[in-house]
């Protein structure tokens, strides 16, 4: 009988302990910046807006227990309360874990695995939370050969989303490879920096221009504010939240932000690029075509480019043998279509050539196309 009472009492006590340990789950968690090198400072945010304050009181202590890739202290690590039921921890992964970037990426879990909990675990705790490290966005971008790309974290995504439309409140990381454009040679070698010259809604509002001469401070009018971070090897990154960066309000209309990237002294710049808002209508990408597909020296060559960037005006240069002709591409709606008709009949009359070298650039000398057009011999 005593044994039975002992067992029942033990069961009740165990049940009480178990009932006290409340599972909590963040509504979302994300990183700022969206994309970061493992030796960069990053902040992980956890939003418990939907968790009852009776379980997780406002600003109550919250700790991280992490086991992958390791637990650097063999102990729980405190988070900071941001207020508004958001907690955060700021760290530099390589310093925090005592590992190199390569070791972090090479870890078999390919993720930071951890949980959040109260000091005694039993009051409240999450299940396993995961921030993946299976993609090295920066080295992947460098290997892609792309001039630029962007990533954002939004919509409950803990992972950065490449090339996804963003909201004015999204964390955006823009990556730029200075090695791709020859004129950015000094930026590629790290001799000069890269800045962003940008504006809200096709430069209609809230422009943040690059002021090379504003060298003091780091307010929105300064060169410091617009500067990209050099991650090494000519790869640059800029992290921003659109409405904050452009000094707008969250509720201000945001359909896109348009920008160009500039080498320190304006000695080089890219064409205009656009990042569209999630709910904006995204125009189709530019398309260049030559008409007709096969052409002889007795014909009229038509060069067309549709869906041009706003403010981009194109010109062509055609070289055949020792002769070069050039001209502008025109259009009544230049964003929709710019076109040039080239009279090969007259321009290259009597020449014995088998191909034409065609180069198309914009007004900033940015090369859109360079290639050879073979010439057909008429029967």
């Amino acid at each position: 009988m005593k044994k039975t009472i002992f067992c029942i009492t033990g069961f009740i006590m165990l049940s009480a302990l178990t009932l006290r340990a409340a599972d909590i789950t963040p509504d979302k968690y994300w990183t700022v910046p969206a994309v970061y090198a493992m030796d960069e400072q990053v902040t992980w945010y956890f939003d418990f807006g939907s968790t009852s304050p009776s379980v997780l009181p406002d600003n109550s202590p919250l700790y991280m227990w992490i086991w992958s890739p390791n637990n650097p202290t063999n102990d729980i690590i405190p988070l900071d309360s941001e207020g508004n039921r958001i907690w955060k921890i700021t760290l530099i992964p390589t310093d925090f874990f005592g590992l190199t970037q390569e070791e972090i990426y090479a870890h078999s879990d390919h993720a930071f695995n951890f949980l959040l909990r109260s000091a005694n675990f039993d009051d409240y705790h999450t299940g396993t939370l995961v921030i993946k490290t299976n993609t090295n966005y920066i080295s992947d971008f460098a290997a892609s050969g792309e001039i630029w790309t962007y990533y954002s974290t939004e919509d409950n995504n803990t992972q950065a989303i490449p090339g996804k439309n963003v909201y004015s409140t999204s964390n955006v990381s823009i990556l730029f490879n200075a090695n791709i454009i020859p004129e950015f040679e000094d930026a590629a070698s790290g001799l000069k920096g890269v800045h962003i010259h940008a504006g809200y809604n096709n430069f209609a509002d809230h422009n943040i221009e690059y002021h090379a001469w504003e060298t003091t401070g780091c307010d929105p009018q300064s060169a410091c504010y617009t500067e990209f971070k050099h991650l090494g090897n000519g790869i640059y990154k800029k992290d921003l939240v659109p409405y904050q960066y452009f000094q707008a309000l969250e509720e201000d209309e945001f359909t896109n932000f348009e920008f160009l990237l500039v080498q320190d002294d304006w000695s080089a710049n890219t064409p205009n690029y656009i990042i569209y808002a999630a709910d904006a209508v995204v125009p189709p990408p530019p398309s260049l075509y030559f008409f007709p597909v096969k052409i002889s020296l007795k014909d009229i060559l038509v060069i067309s480019r549709e869906n041009n960037n706003r403010g981009q005006f194109l010109s062509y240069t055609i070289t055949g043998g020792s002769k070069t002709v050039s001209g502008n591409m025109t259009g009544s709606a230049p964003m929709a279509l710019q076109r040039a008709f080239v009279n090969l009949v007259e321009e290259f009359k009597g020449m014995d050539i088998s191909s034409l070298r065609v180069t198309i650039k914009d007004q900033n000398d940015f090369e859109i196309y360079s290639g050879d057009i073979p010439l057909v011999i008429e029967d």
Binding site: F291, V293, I295, S296, D299, I300, N343, V345, E346, D379
Partner: protein, 176 residues
């Protein structure tokens, strides 16, 4: 006397028949030779519009396969005169205006057929560099033969290894 009356009556009847028969004489018509292609196509023609056709794209179903050149390079000044001799036979031709030379601007011409073909194949203007018409320099298909409306359509097609790759479709109106 009675006989004379009969004679006179018969004579009058004969004359009447003769006269009225003459009025109702059947007109068999005189011989008129059929209208030749040369008759329809000779003269001064002026450009209404010009379309460049990408035959490769057209065959592959790609767009664009046609491009208007009418407003380019002064093509609106393009004119062509197709001369004939007194018998209506093609002789020389000359291109006028400041448009690019899509084909030789002067020479001689002939037709591959005197009359429109019943199988629908368009008649073709053959272009020559010499009066003897031995040096062929090009050919223009008459894809639209002038009729009640004095308009003509000519098509110049370039081929490579016998495969068409580009054409120029001229729509012309006759200078009255």
């Amino acid at each position: 006397m009675k006989q004379i009356k009969y004679f006179n009556g018969s004579f009058l009847l004969f004359v009447a028949i003769f006269i009225f028969t003459g009025c109702a004489d059947t007109d068999d018509g005189s011989y008129v030779s059929p209208i030749t292609v040369s008759e329809k196509t000779n003269g001064d023609w002026h450009l209404l519009n010009l379309t460049q056709i990408d035959e490769t794209a057209k065959k592959a179903g790609l767009n664009p396969s046609e491009m208007s050149l009418t407003d380019q390079f002064e093509f609106t000044t393009f004119g062509i005169t197709l001369n004939v001799d007194d018998d209506g036979n093609p002789t020389s031709y000359a291109v006028s205006g400041n448009a690019p030379d899509i084909f030789n601007e002067q020479g001689y011409w002939s037709l591959d057929t005197d009359f429109p073909q019943t199988n629908g194949t368009p008649p073709t203007i053959l272009l020559y560099g010499d009066a003897a018409k031995t040096q062929k320099t090009g050919k223009l298909s008459i894809t639209g033969i002038p009729g009640a409306t004095p308009e003509m359509e000519l098509k110049l097609t370039r081929t490579s290894n016998n495969v068409p790759f580009v054409s120029y479709q001229f729509k012309l109106t006759k200078n009255q």
